[in-house]
């Protein structure tokens, strides 16, 4: 058996999505910008896909939802265009974000800092979320934008977007949310919250990779990132990726139809897996279940280093993820693990399991069995569970890892 439990990284494309995309590679391959029938024949399908996305998110017809190549592009677009429009071309100089954003927000913010922008990186609480009053306390007259993720890719914790949106509205500051881990996983009603920009990505909800979108409230002015043929109402140039737009429309429709039912089913499996894993001694899960996306578990297993655990799971044909420093290219501990600060060891022992609507009960059973087997093997090797104590004077010296990495 092989089990894929890394659905926060990417998801399988739903076969119904693949089927919906098929004709646009071979039969309806025209460029929508063309005047002839080959081009215009695609228009009804594009309109349908746009409708599917607007409906799924309850967006108003006055809003713009612009298809992009991915959420990284959407995030960069917001940050860089706000910089151009309000900071270079205005009197603002400040952006607020969080310590736990996706690299596409954090790296873009670091680049903006190099351009002279002041960026505040807000800390998270022990639940891994930013509290609204923290956001409020950092907003000044010079703040151009607040960018706070809707849900965390690492922990699944859902941020208080509605409250933060109200604060931004009251203060007259633009509000962007990276909605990648929320759209298609939990209800997102864009008329219920005040948010100016929302990024999303189709491959996180069983759509294809290489297509995302940016929601722009009430057609907010936001200068284009890509110039060219002025597609998408002059907001984003580039030949419309018809098969992928159709695929994203279908994927978001499937994800949000009977969503409560789908969420309940995923949640039940997730809770069963989580309960079983927490039976192991010296383990803890980050964040309350009530305020977490229904598919995510971030579990710390004392004495078992994350990459080692991933190795054993991989040998058992189970795909998961770790924020462990040892598994990263630069040996940097995962910023989210460090930011939560719940436990020194979390930065090295965190395993993320993320389910999807395709995860089966049999897969959960198998994962529980293999997970426990791996923990038993690695704890047998682990110095954390050794019984014979060091010779006097043979105890470990000071930690050789800098404070900023090891907490």
């Amino acid at each position: 058996m092989q089990v894929y439990l890394d659905n926060n990284a990417t998801t399988m494309c739903d076969p119904q999505v693949v089927e919906a995309m098929q004709p646009f590679f071979s039969e309806l391959y025209g460029n929508p910008s063309s005047l002839h029938k080959f081009g215009t024949a695609t228009h009804p399908y594009l309109k349908k896909a746009i409708d599917q996305v607007y409906t799924a998110l309850n967006a108003s017809d006055d809003d713009d939802i612009i298809f992009t190549s991915c959420a990284t592009e959407s995030n960069n677009w917001v940050l860089k265009s706000v910089f151009n429009d309000l900071i270079v071309g205005g009197d603002k100089d400040h952006i607020i974000t969080t310590e736990v954003e996706h690299p596409s927000v954090l790296s873009a913010c670091r680049w903006l800092e190099e351009q002279g922008v002041k960026v505040t990186y807000l800390p998270v609480n022990d639940q891994g979320i930013v509290e609204p009053h923290t956001v409020k306390s950092f907003i000044t007259d010079k703040t151009a934008l607040v960018s706070v993720m809707w849900a965390s890719n690492e922990t699944g914790m859902i941020f208080p977007i509605k409250e933060i949106g109200e604060i931004c509205k009251e203060k007259g500051v633009l509000f962007h949310s990276d909605g990648v881990q929320a759209v298609g996983k939990i209800p997102v009603d864009l008329q219920d919250v005040h948010v100016d920009f929302v990024s999303m990505s189709a491959h996180k909800f069983h759509g294809p990779k290489g297509i995302g979108a940016l929601y722009i409230k009430n057609s907010q002015p936001l200068s284009p990132l890509l110039h060219g043929g002025e597609q998408m109402g002059h907001r984003r140039s580039g030949t419309l990726n018809v098969p992928y737009i159709v695929g994203m429309g279908k994927a978001i429709e499937l994800a949000t139809t009977n969503m409560e039912e789908k969420m309940a089913s995923i949640r039940a499996k997730r809770d069963r897996l989580e309960d079983a894993l927490l039976e192991l001694s010296d383990t803890f899960v980050v964040g309350s279940r009530e305020n977490r996306t229904p598919n995510t578990i971030l579990i710390s297993i004392r004495g078992v280093e994350g990459e080692g655990m991933l190795w054993d799971l991989n040998n058992a044909m189970i795909g998961a993820s770790t924020g462990s420093a040892c598994a990263s290219e630069d040996l940097e501990a995962n910023t989210v693990m460090l930011a939560i600060g719940a436990d020194n060891e979390l930065a090295h022992t965190g395993i993320r399991l993320s389910l999807s609507r395709f995860t089966t009960d049999e897969e959960i059973d198998y994962t529980i069995e293999q997970f426990k087997k791996a923990v038993a093997r690695l704890r047998a090797i682990s110095s954390s569970f050794a019984k014979v104590q060091p010779t006097p004077g043979g105890e470990a010296g000071e930690c050789h890892i800098p404070h900023h990495m090891a907490h």
């Binding site: 080692g308 190795w311 290219e329 110095s383 954390s384 050794a386 014979v388 060091p390 930690c399």
Partner: protein, 326 residues
């Protein structure tokens, strides 16, 4: 950056088969109890290095025959990733059968080489070298406990890069001999800084006592000082070429020649000159001057006078000199 760099390789693809095999089935993981060692009439040494909160921790067990100082058995326990477990396993393998005094000579380089499938292919990707460094550190600790000496006594050199075991002396020497100007060049010449990168500058994976950026800056400073001293000594001995002088020395030399050969003629006509700057310009050395008093605006200042100044300086100091009035 090139075609092969476009897709980053998977971390695990860079592990040797030996690393994979030992991670899956370490041969020497386990514990030696005081009772076991005592039953064999041997001494038990147990040493720790690292901590779970650091991300790496290893506990090394040695059963040593006190009559011969030979490590008759060795085990390990490791909190760590695949390469940490495999490195610990090889480390214990290398210790068994050696005298403590020999075992302490085992370095991380030996551990990493023992993990290779073939001698020319590294067993682990660069950033994973620090796992084998832990093995070296814990061996030193165990040996210091057995022999009752300080761990530092095993280290003859100051090691700057633990991964490649490059000493401070080697790095300083290579910088000076090859006139190295960047950290990348140091890495190319010595491999220091090419692995976990902690020794390059503060803020890396581990805190270090010495960093390549500081060593480079300090060594370059020493080189400059040595160069200036050599120039001053040569100048004092009257042997230095004008081209090799420092800027200050060049200005002084030019001033001295002007004073001796030119200035009195300018002053006689109610004029004078001063040196503004000296710049190297490809093969030429350009001396910028300004005329003062009656010389300023005099027709001869751009012809005869200028020729006299330039030819004197060419003859006395260097044929590459050009004099440029501003």
């Amino acid at each position: 950056m090139a075609k092969d760099d476009l897709l980053g390789a998977s971390l695990w693809d860079a592990y040797s088969n030996k690393v994979t095999t030992l991670m899956n089935n370490p041969q020497h993981q386990g514990e030696i109890t005081p009772e076991e060692a005592e039953a064999h009439g041997n001494k038990l040494i147990v040493a720790d290095f690292g901590a779970e909160s650091c991300g790496d921790a290893v506990r090394l067990y040695w059963e040593v025959d006190p009559k011969t100082d030979v490590i008759v058995n060795s085990k390990f326990k490791s909190f760590g990733c695949g390469t940490a477990i495999a490195s610990s396993d090889v480390m214990t393998e290398l210790c068994i059968g050696k005298k403590v005094q020999e075992a302490v000579k085992i370095t991380n380089i030996d551990v990493e080489k023992a993990l290779r499938d073939d001698p020319d292919t590294p067993a682990v990707p660069p950033q994973k070298m620090h796992c084998s460094v832990m093995a070296y550190d814990v061996i030193k600790k165990a040996a210091s406990l057995y022999l009752g000496v300080d761990e530092e006594s095993f280290e003859e050199d100051i090691i700057v890069c633990e991964c490649a075991r490059v000493s401070l002396g080697t790095i300083q020497e290579v910088i000076k001999l090859n006139d190295l100007k960047t950290v990348e060049e140091i890495t190319d010449y010595t491999k220091a800084g090419g692995f976990c990168k902690s020794c390059i500058k503060p803020g890396g994976h581990e805190d270090r006592e010495y960093y390549l950026v500081d060593i480079l800056a300090q060594t370059r400073k020493e080189m400059d000082e040595e160069k200036m001293k050599a120039a001053a000594d040569a100048a004092a001995a009257g042997q230095e070429k004008f081209e090799d002088m420092t800027l200050v020395q060049q200005i002084k030399a030019v001033d001295a020649i002007i004073d001796e050969n030119v200035r009195q003629f300018l002053v006689m006509d109610g004029g004078d000159m001063e040196i503004i700057d000296i710049k190297k310009n490809d093969d030429y050395i350009d001396i910028y001057i300004r005329y003062l008093g009656a010389c300023n605006g005099c027709a001869s200042s751009a012809t005869g006078t200028l020729y006299a100044i330039e030819s004197t300086l060419k003859e006395k100091l260097s044929p590459n000199i050009r004099v440029l009035p501003i």
